[in-house]
């Protein structure tokens, strides 16, 4: 369990990092390392170079404004989770983050790193997708913003080009009349969910006028289903678009069953949240 040889670079400016990345097709970016380092140790990944971005300035921020929450590439899960402002702006972030692994992993792992790792069994990619957030990426060619709907290409595959580094994620604020819910079932506390479900609803004049549900671990990429027109049986609507698979921890049928159990429950929580939430 020792990595194969690799070159190691610890740049101190973003430009230096981007130039190095552009010049080394086999390079990987190292931030929190909570997914990458185990892959290296098991020799499931053998990049020619690690570009460690932990010495880059100005990427550790968690800032909030009326639009929402901006999270820098070096902000740790624990720092995001601890942000009272972020929780106030978009409470789903903290709700979901509290299910991400364990405190020691949250202390090192970065939220942005988790997003571009693009694991459909991870909470934050789904949350970004559900909230219709985005990720800002930089390369020697310039900067661009990738909407969440365009970020996830396949299992563990994002749409970032090889020479691009994700520098910031944006999670929109929960608007007035909005409510959220989140629940997941995992084998052990902190494990990847067997099924995770999040919901965002919008209430107007006491009626649910928008209801969207996002799912963890029941598809290859984060999936969001609009159930506004299916509030009587949202799980059925969701399952029509999901493809739960069997693995060593759960059968496909059990996963589908959990979708049926959790979807109405989480949706009800979100509606309750919207109705009882103090409006700023």
């Amino acid at each position: 369990m020792k990595p194969a040889p690799f070159a190691y670079l610890r740049p101190t400016t973003l430009e230096e990092a981007l130039t190095a990345l552009a010049g080394e097709p086999g390079a990987k970016v190292l931030a929190g390392g909570q997914s990458l380092v185990p892959l290296l140790s098991m020799r499931l990944a053998a990049p020619s170079m690690l570009i460690d971005i932990n010495a880059l300035p100005d990427l550790g921020h968690v800032t909030c404004d009326e639009a929402g929450v901006r999270i820098g590439a070096l902000a740790r899960h624990a720092e995001v989770l601890a942000s009272v402002e972020a929780a106030a702006s978009q409470p789903l972030i903290a709700r979901a983050l509290s299910h991400v692994a364990h405190p020691t992993i949250r202390n090192r792992g970065t939220t942005v790193g988790s997003l571009v790792h693009a694991d459909a069994a991870a909470e934050m990619p789904m949350v970004l997708r559900l909230l219709e957030g985005s990720v800002d990426v930089a390369s020697v060619r310039g900067r661009r913003t990738i909407p969440a709907a365009e970020l996830f290409a396949g299992p563990l595959e994002s749409t970032l080009a090889h020479d691009e580094v994700a520098v910031e994620a944006f999670f929109p604020a929960l608007p007035a009349g909005g409510g959220i819910g989140f629940e997941e079932i995992a084998r052990r506390h902190g494990d990847y969910a067997l099924v995770g479900v999040a919901a965002v609803v919008t209430i107007a004049d006491g009626d649910v006028v928008g209801a969207r549900v996002g799912f963890v671990s029941v598809s290859d990429v984060p999936v969001v289903v609009d159930v506004t027109d299916h509030l009587d049986d949202p799980a059925a609507a969701a399952l029509a678009e999901l493809d739960p698979a069997e693995d060593i921890h759960a059968s496909a049928d059990y996963r589908a069953h959990l979708v049926k159990v959790l979807t109405p429950r989480v949706l009800a929580d979100a509606i309750h949240h919207a109705r009882t939430r103090k409006q700023a």
Binding site: K2, P5, R43, R187, G190, D191, A250, D253, Y254
Partner: protein
């Protein structure tokens, strides 16, 4: 007056060191030695294949690589198969692997080549450059495939059957045929493993000046490793020292020996003239150490209207993996310990021990007992359900009664001795358990929970555990002239708290301060005669030996002190390291007695002047009497005629979520009888750890092999060892102490107690909650969900009756 420590909750002297990260494990050794080399092993990626060629030509080009071994490089005893440690007459087709695979591989993870390099990184780089050509063979995976025997693991083992063993008392089949009621059960347990925090590890250093080999290994038997290393490398035993430093858990897997690396590391150290280290990584531990537990059981039972067992006939199939280095210990234990606290009038047990193309099987904490307990306790529950009786009542009907000890079962136990229970009071234990868990109040609780839409169940399970198996352990007690007491016993420690418990015994027996006692374990330089730490035997075996050796040292101390104090030995007492004449001021401390015990020519300090030739002794007699020896020491061995039998009963209340099928533990209760308790805190710690491990085995952990023989969950991400969040936050424990008559301290073993009844007790509680039989363990929420669907389809009526 010295306070009696035996039986008190003395804080573990080990903990400060361990909790502060000051433990010293095999991987911590020689780290400052620039000459230290590191080993890595090429392991088979295939479950079953013939090796047609191994090409290592690219390896030696890697900078930093010093040597590579394959089977062709091994000579003499190293080229022979590894030892079959515990032969048995019924093990007619025992097979063991080679230190490095010869011609074929029989499980994923089997060692093929051994690389030594300047560091582990380089060694792993080199391993990846070895090219092996294989002819693939279809693997045999699982008990069904092994029994079908469409394919053979070893060409010369027909039917994949390593052993078939049968024992019977009375005529079980006739008794069942004549019984008023009969039941048949099929019961399965899956594979799991010990998974200690520290894996296997070996460091060896060869000293060319003295032609002496020192081996450090994270083993459960340093004397066993020493014997194997000397035999395999052709060294005189006296030239080999094996030392076991701190070990981060064993739970059984480290009793197997020698592992290939335990021989290859010393071989490399001797060949290269530099110290060599092998530290197993986690994936290696999963695929190349040992597993346990997988068995399939067929049970036929006949009983009367009271639920009394008239005849019990158990046939089972044991998956022992690719080889049988540890013989038949696990299935023999199942077949004998299955009986628990009960006395079936007629009992027959037959097992076949089967080869599969998977990791070898050696004892894992409990060692066949969890399976046996599962079989017997599921049978008891089935009888109770059939007769409509309370589950505790059926058990009580079948208990061996307190006045029946010693109770002879008429079977042969794992140590080749008669299966004879020494002590216990099962009815009293059951009463304690019922009170502790609230057995009689449970129906009311169930109703209250049902009113809230919640589903709960209660289960119990009883077991008897043969502990403290022979052949022997020894101890050497040395009282130094400082008054400090140095004690050596040969078995090893893996975190049990031996330093504390053994020092309690010494302090009490000798009459010295606890703080003045230092215990050394697992160092063949200090105690070359020893067996090892397994089968809950350390307290019984070494504890008794230490007690006996302390008595000898005490006897000598009193003899010398009596002479010095001009008093009679009968009038002396020893407290806090001071020998005094009862009722007088006359006294002498043990350090001075030690000085006097060793007639000196030379005074090396102030105290030693008292023992020089012009100060002491009768000039008319030899300074050391003919039948005496210098020094204040005691040495003795304890070798019991048979095992001592601890017992216990567990109960659990679980909640099963009607929607998600998640299983939650609401209450866990343990009544435990290991005879006299040396240190109740250590015993309870053992129970806590055992219960946690049992929760893992019942609800979370399993070895998931695919049809190709690949282990799919060889990491702690997918092998679900429970976190602290998954085990009960409190475990209610009550003790019963029925002392063993077999040893001077009246003790019985406690190391495996917590884990034995887990599968049985959780199956019982889940069954009670759900209303349908649970016949296979472990069980996950996904599996419970599937069972609900199955029983909703077929038994809607029955489910309605039980309130689902």
């Amino acid at each position: 007056m010295t306070t009696k420590l035996f039986g008190t909750k003395v804080a573990r002297v080990e903990d400060q060191r361990f909790l502060r990260g000051q433990g010293r494990y095999v991987d911590d050794l020689l780290t400052d030695d620039p000459r230290l080399l590191h080993a890595a092993v090429l392991r088979s990626p295939h479950a079953h294949a013939r090796i047609t060629d191994i090409d290592v030509s690219d390896v030696l080009d890697v900078e930093g690589v010093l040597a590579v071994w394959t089977y062709d490089d091994l000579v003499d005893a190293m080229a022979e198969p590894l030892p079959l440690l515990i032969p048995h007459p019924t093990l007619t087709h025992g097979r063991t692997q080679y230190a490095l695979a010869k011609d074929e591989v029989n499980y994923v993870g089997e060692a093929i080549a051994f690389v030594v390099a300047v560091d582990r990184y380089v060694a792993e780089d080199a391993v990846s450059r070895i090219r092996v050509d294989y002819d693939y063979l279809e693997p045999v995976v699982g008990i069904a495939a092994a029994r079908a025997a469409d394919r053979l693991v070893h060409d010369d083992v027909p039917g994949n059957i390593g052993a078939r063993m049968e024992q019977e008392t009375g005529d079980a089949r006739a008794a069942i045929a004549d019984a008023p009621h009969t039941l048949t059960l099929e019961l399965d347990i899956e594979r799991s493993a010990c998974t200690p925090m520290e894996g296997r590890g070996t460091v060896a250093r060869w000293d060319p000046d003295t032609s002496r080999l020192t081996v450090w290994s994270s083993t459960q038997t340093s004397t066993g490793v020493r014997g194997c290393v000397a035999a395999k490398l052709g060294l005189d035993l006296a030239k080999v020292d094996v030392i076991t430093p701190d070990v981060g858990g064993g739970f059984g897997v480290k009793i197997n020996h020698p592992w290939p690396e335990e021989l290859l590391v010393p071989l490399a150290a001797m060949t290269l003239g530099r110290p060599v280290k092998f530290t197993e990584d986690r994936r290696e531990h999963f695929i190349s150490s040992a597993h346990e537990r997988a068995q399939v059981h067929h049970v036929e039972v006949g009983f009367d209207d009271d639920g009394r067992l008239l005849g019990l006939n158990v046939e089972f199939w044991h998956d022992h993996g690719a080889y049988t280095p540890y013989g038949l210990i696990v299935p023999i234990i199942t077949s004998t310990q299955l009986l628990g606290p009960y006395k079936p009038l007629n009992y027959r047990v037959v097992f076949e021990s089967l080869y599969t193309n998977t990791v070898i099987v050696t004892p894992y904490r409990g060692a066949g007992r969890p399976q046996g307990c599962f079989v017997m306790e599921r049978t008891m529950d089935a009888i109770a359900a059939y007769l409509g009786k309370d589950r505790t009542e059926v058990r009580g009907t079948n208990f061996i009664q307190p006045d029946e000890f010693p109770y002879e079962h008429g079977l042969v136990f794992q140590d080749g001795r008669e299966l004879t229970y020494d002590s216990g009071d099962y009815p009293a234990s059951l009463e304690k358990l019922k009170a502790l868990v609230g057995w009689d109040e449970f129906e009311q609780f169930r109703a209250e929970m049902a009113a809230q839409g919640r589903r709960v169940g209660i289960g119990l399970a009883c077991y008897v555990e043969g502990t403290g198996v022979g052949p022997y352990e020894g101890a050497h007690v040395h009282i130094e002239t400082s008054g400090k007491v140095k004690v050596a016993t040969g078995l090893t420690s893996q975190g049990q708290g031996h330093q504390t418990a053994f020092a309690q015994i010494v302090a009490d027996t000798l009459g010295v301060r606890f703080e003045d006692v230092e215990i050394t374990t697992g160092d063949t330089r200090k105690m070359p005669y020893a067996v090892g730490t397994f089968a809950s035997r350390a307290a019984v075996m070494s504890g008794s030996a230490i007690h006996l050796a302390s008595l000898r040292a005490r006897e000598k101390a009193l003899r010398i002190a009596a002479e010095a104090l001009e008093a009679s030995e009968e009038d002396l007492e020893i407290n806090d390291g001071v020998v005094s004449v009862r009722g007088t001021d006359a006294s002498i401390d043990l350090g001075t007695v030690a000085v006097l015990s060793n007639p000196l020519r030379y005074a090396f300090d102030e105290a030693s002047k008292a023992a020089t030739q012009f100060s002491v002794g009768d000039p008319g007699k030899p300074p050391v009497a003919e039948d005496d020896e210098p020094g204040l020491e005691g040495k003795d061995f304890y070798s019991p005629e048979r095992s001592t039998f601890a017992n216990g009963m567990h109960a659990v209340i679980v909640e099963t979520d009607p929607d998600t099928a998640e299983i939650t533990i609401l209450k866990y209760a343990v009544v435990h009888d290991c005879g006299h308790l040396i240190n109740p805190m250590i015993v309870e710690g053992q129970i806590h750890g055992g219960v946690a491990q049992g929760v893992g085995g019942a609800l979370y952990e399993r070895m998931v092999y695919d049809e190709a023989g690949q282990l799919l969950n060889a990491s702690f991400m997918d092998f679900l060892m429970p976190y602290v969040t998954e085990v009960p936050t409190t475990i209610d424990i009550d003790h019963l102490e029925t002392p063993s008559p077999l040893n001077p301290l009246g003790i019985k073993g406690a190391g495996e107690a917590g884990v034995i009844p887990s599968a049985a007790v959780f199956a019982a509680a889940i069954e009670d909650a759900e209303g349908f039989p649970i016949t296979a363990m472990p069980i996950s929420p996904s599996e419970l969900f599937a069972l609900r669907l199955e029983h909703a389809d077929h038994t809607t009526e029955a489910a309605t009756i039980t309130g689902i």
